[in-house]
Symmetry: C2
Subunit: 110 residues, 2 copies
DNA sequence: GCAATCCATCGATAATTGTCGATGAATGAA
DNA sequence: TTCATTCATCGACAATTATCGATGGATTGC
């Protein structure tokens, strides 16, 4: 993952509404949620939430699928993984000792 | 890590100048870098960079230490680890299959 | 065909963020 | 003591972001 893509993903997640929506989508994998369900959960107006959703989609973190007249939104775990690898990479290069506790906790968590 | 702290960390990293400075500090562990060195690397004015640095410090991602008349800045890997665990946690809860490839790649990388 | 539903886009406004130069406090050197 | 260096803070301004209501396209159901 390039630095620019990582920045897009970080910026997309750096907002309460978008972070909440993304986590909700991760938890709802693999079924996903409709835009309307996400709007309801956000408490914002439909148009405001739509602009937030567009930012998540633009960053590749959310993949929309058309289903009838609604859009089903799904989290793109791959991009999340790429982002985490991007962040971890600096520790790893020549200094694995910084990364080991991270891997240990992640292994334990999953 | 609470959602609010994760948002602070994400917001802090969601800016080219700050992401670059933080990664530079991670790579320079455990010696750290002086504020002046970071300013030079950023290409911004001292005051502008100082406000960015304050955001990283406020998020806990950077720990300043006074040394004479300069400040030595060091990356706080723990907060990075907490952030990554926060992001991974949603995958892990009841759906480890989403997280496994992430752990696998991280283990391989480190 | 017609009305209703779902959702993206537009335009306007308010709020936040980024940037800079200037100032000043703290420290070390002469 | 006096001067230079390092860096945080202040105030101002520009740029970006967040929010909303309104509009309109696409689709489904009647």
């Amino acid at each position: 993952m390039k630095s620019a893509s990582a920045l897009d993903a970080l910026s997309a997640l750096a907002h309460p509404t978008r972070l909440d929506a993304f986590r909700r989508l991760v938890r709802s994998e693999p079924e996903g949620l409709s835009t309307g369900q996400l709007v309801d959960a956000s408490g914002l107006t439909q148009s405001t939430f739509s602009s937030h959703l567009a930012i998540l989609v633009g960053a590749g973190l959310v993949l929309p699928e058309k289903r009838g007249r609604q859009m089903i939104q799904r989290a793109n775990i791959e991009v999340l993984r790429d982002l985490m690898l991007f962040l971890a990479k600096d520790c790893c290069e020549g200094r694995a000792e910084l990364c080991e506790p991270l891997v240990a906790e992640l292994s334990h968590c999953c």
